[in-house]
Symmetry: C2
Subunit: 708 residues, 2 copies
Amino acid sequence: MKENCLQTIMAPKSVAIVGASNNPMKMGTLQCLNLMTSDFPGKIFPIHPTEKKVFGLTAYPSIADLPQAPELALLVVPTRFVVDMMEEFGKIGTRSAIIITAGFAETGADGKELQKKLLEVCAKHNIRFLGPNCMGVMNTALPFNITVTPFQDKPGGLSLASQSGTYLAQTLSYLKQRGVRLQKAMSVGNEANIDLVDCLEYLGADKDTKAIGMYIETLRRADKFLEVARKISREKPIIAQYVGGTKAGARSGASHTGALAGPDHIYDGLFVQAGIIRVSSIDDVYRIGHTLAASPPLKGNRMAILTHSGGPGTAMSDTCDRNGLMVSDLPGPVKEKIRAVIPPHASANNPVDLTFIMESELMNQVIPKILLESDAVDGLLIHGFMDTGWAKQIYPSISKIMDIKYEQLEKLFSMDLGPFLALREKHQKPIVCSSFLGTEDHAVSTLLENSVPLFDSPEKAALAMSCLYKHFQIKNREVDEPVPSAIPGDVVEQIQNSASGPLDEHNAKQILAQCGIPVCREKLAQSVEQAVDAAKEIGFPVAVKACSAQIAHKTEKGLVHLNIIDEKGVLKAWEAIQKSASKSPVLVCEMLGANREFMAGVTRFPGFGPLVLFGLGGIQAEALGDRAFRMAPFGQAEALRLANSIKANKLLGSFRNLPAVDERALADILIALGNLTLACPRIKELDINPILIVKGRPVVVDALIVLE
Amino acid sequence: MKENCLQTIMAPKSVAIVGASNNPMKMGTLQCLNLMTSDFPGKIFPIHPTEKKVFGLTAYPSIADLPQAPELALLVVPTRFVVDMMEEFGKIGTRSAIIITAGFAETGADGKELQKKLLEVCAKHNIRFLGPNCMGVMNTALPFNITVTPFQDKPGGLSLASQSGTYLAQTLSYLKQRGVRLQKAMSVGNEANIDLVDCLEYLGADKDTKAIGMYIETLRRADKFLEVARKISREKPIIAQYVGGTKAGARSGASHTGALAGPDHIYDGLFVQAGIIRVSSIDDVYRIGHTLAASPPLKGNRMAILTHSGGPGTAMSDTCDRNGLMVSDLPGPVKEKIRAVIPPHASANNPVDLTFIMESELMNQVIPKILLESDAVDGLLIHGFMDTGWAKQIYPSISKIMDIKYEQLEKLFSMDLGPFLALREKHQKPIVCSSFLGTEDHAVSTLLENSVPLFDSPEKAALAMSCLYKHFQIKNREVDEPVPSAIPGDVVEQIQNSASGPLDEHNAKQILAQCGIPVCREKLAQSVEQAVDAAKEIGFPVAVKACSAQIAHKTEKGLVHLNIIDEKGVLKAWEAIQKSASKSPVLVCEMLGANREFMAGVTRFPGFGPLVLFGLGGIQAEALGDRAFRMAPFGQAEALRLANSIKANKLLGSFRNLPAVDERALADILIALGNLTLACPRIKELDINPILIVKGRPVVVDALIVLE
């Protein structure tokens, strides 16, 4: 296997830092300082034009003066120096770099030009680099930390790859306070050379990384990202926040599919397809990411909830309900065991509610043991450990009146969580806790210290647990076989030779039919006589529509006549069509009776493969925009998931007195659309709308193909 | 105005505490201690069978031994003593009580019986009481705190009313750490006597309460709650979490409306109607509640975002976008002013991104001033103050190498936030901040100290700001005139005299027509000849349906024949209907062509007035469950909001080539449904489905009325 381009960047044997000085108000200095004061096992070479020493370390006036070629170059210098310096590093043999300096493509045309030059110079010397405009990397396993903040925690299992530098450079104390421990982290900046896909590949292969968190504003290689993420997510959880999808809004285009393809929907589909758990805040990336990294795998969705108060129990239960977790009645024998040990007013149901009691062993040993031992419990949610934090809260009033030392009071409340931690270790079932107390509480600090996921609200704990279940589902979902492209050569050739713009409806449907997509029976008629003959052959009732590549929005223009029941009707339709679209041939189609309408299509988006849409059809549904996307190619398992991703997926089953939809036939249509578009890069947009369900089988009734 | 029943409970001149002792591990003791050690200005009478003194205070062996009747009695005693003690308190003249003791209605049949007895005794003596099974109240203005936790903060503007005691008894240090300051709080427990509605009335009238937060599991008087909340929310923000709606799931019933009426949807509609901002975690109730209480009103949705990093700025912007706030380009002159003072790589667009800089005055004075002075900015979001918390983060590495005292480093970073706070005071525009630092940071602690809303993630700050905008919208929404009941007397009488169960379709539609609801033209036919005559009179095409109160699900049984175009067709339909439903009369109706289908209905739910549903119709839409509820009675403004509450509200405007729907006509239907059900309590359920839109006007095509 080829070595990942981040291998040296994440674990260099030697580093040159250009921009380090003795002024601690400078970023480069802070980065150098963090490196020097950590246990980094490699060599450090500060480079500074005038300083002889940087904090006691020999500084070199220029790159050429270095005693050896450093494996990694770190640049924190004014923008104008960057390109020349990279040239110099290239010359001495350095092949990896991190460019912190900003002022490149993110600033406009001049910056873009400069970034291009930077890329040329680096390409010439085979240099791989992170940035520009990034905040560095961190590898707690080595250790190697060149962010501006010192890492002062134990290494953990969560690794981060972020398009915002802040999210790894400035959150270390935030993370420490919340018990979130990082393993590795990288800020990718402008991704001029190394991007999130490279990070994902690196972290996927890294044995110390147990879960991957990402902050994403845009993907430049979404197709490759999908390929890589899909593999990793079967092993390690990936959790990501995507922002930026709303601003861009819906895009314009000739097709409905284009209009429905806002980036937020596209990324949503991509994440599902890739097996990535999407969350909506960076806080969730960190804290749920830590839960995923630090917990044994959840093997089912049956939750037990243990609490000392109704509110938090109900809130956890409600959050479970909304997120796919079950809070069912406990089995009779389990309930009996619980009932035998709890106070009479407490509840042995699920949630187990001990009510406000001072006997902490029930909460942290006795009941957890009963619950974890039960085969009917996959995971445990606990709210309400009350330890020294509670003693600290009440001490001010007690001390005013009683002659008691704080230490005495604390002893009354202090818990031994050793048995609890041993239970956790033994049963290897996820336990997620919440508490309204902070690290001033001994139970809270003990749990954090031992990497027990702990949240400051019951709802957040339950949400994190639901993400463990999501990962379970991703790991266990059906995997697609590689999809052979089944597009006939003459279809590809025909499209290759067609003019730009839309194909006419009949033409479009013939192409689809050749790709194995079921279309309605129809005939093209050039004259009224042909139209009448066609109608007779097909059988009444029929639909008669103008058929021309030049006419869009036929329905709105009155060029579609439905439910024609006799020759007279065909005649009237012909005349009406000729009046507004003279000399247009007409398409005579069978009229299909159907209660369920869907739509499908393909659109394109920069950096993505063809995006196949599936949605509810008809104008009512269109107003709702109930649709989902997947990136082609995909196989039947993914196509079935796509079909079932719409909110109205109930309609695919037998609904009212309608038979179930043949989902495999529907999936085949979606697969074929993707394959067709992959085989024909000239297809810019494609709509099939509606797809009617006739006796359970999908049939395409109208189609639009637009060529580049 | 009648005095609120909580007046004495929240501010008693004297309190007896039954259950206080000298053992600090007992709840009653803790409550007594908190009261004694605070500055409570009233008298305290501990009652204990054996102790002569409780922490130095004279204790009384029984209620009869008290030197005076206390204004308030607090009971923390075993369940079995409660009723008798209330009898004693009643006898000596106490008229207010808080019953902490659990073991009543929440525990089952015996407890319900006991609660009934408790109510009888209290009624006899005109005692109003909170609980049983509650955690007390807190009034920081007096002060008066009888929860188990001492209040150690300044009084704030947020008051709480909660159905979970934990949420006010055990979160005080949690709140203090997060800068959330309470004004008043009450835990209502089982609500045997005083309920959330009473609390809401009390807090609505309390001048020190600037915002009201609620935790709700069930409303026992939803109709009264709506009436009270609707008035208060026009002045003060109300924010609430409702949990418990998912578990119960959809209810069964004869009508679609019933099946669609899960409690979660009903509460959702109730909250909107009442002007309550609904959130999904207790954390949001507290922290967004505090933002609402501590901020000047937001007067528009134009946000400026100020940050030192791309990620948080984008995340704030994205959250704004998703929640109704605008992050538009700043006006040219504002941009120029900003451009003139920021570094070249920084961005003068919105979000204003200063990038990683050490010059803190730009961040906390210069740019905020420019932004707040602009008329184009309604509110300001800031992420990235970096003060001493930052110094503390980097000191460990710096100190290892430099001979620098922490105090020296701190001085380099310490900010003067005085000018910032003065700007905030002067401009009276909401400012909401986020920071990844904690209270160890001087900027963070200064902001918290001064009640500037501060969150630990940018997304949360933006979400809180969007709730300020929601309150602005609630305050400014159109208010309904009282709705006169316009139901004709003979309709009421007819329903009164009808048999239980469903009315037949024709009958139902006639009733609706008499209430002013437009229904399709139709005639009831008892014979095939009458059916043919009716069809001719109405004009082909027609629909022919079996019409009998005994037949439900006509379509599924093949008893509905649509699009009949001639006499022959009527004949065939008649015969087909008679075959499966012999001797059933048929209904001959005009066939209406329509592309848009809606549905409406009414259902009932314990504690609520009639609930009017509006939703998208047709089977496709039914699968989606796109619907909303309001409680009757309501006027046109609310009815229009109901109609527009569905996700597919686009369909109400002109859509494709369809004309806009006459929304006022639609609103009138919804109002009439509510009034009809109010006038006729025997109406259990009611469906009108579909409502077709014919040339923009709504027409009811099928209806079902079920009587109790």
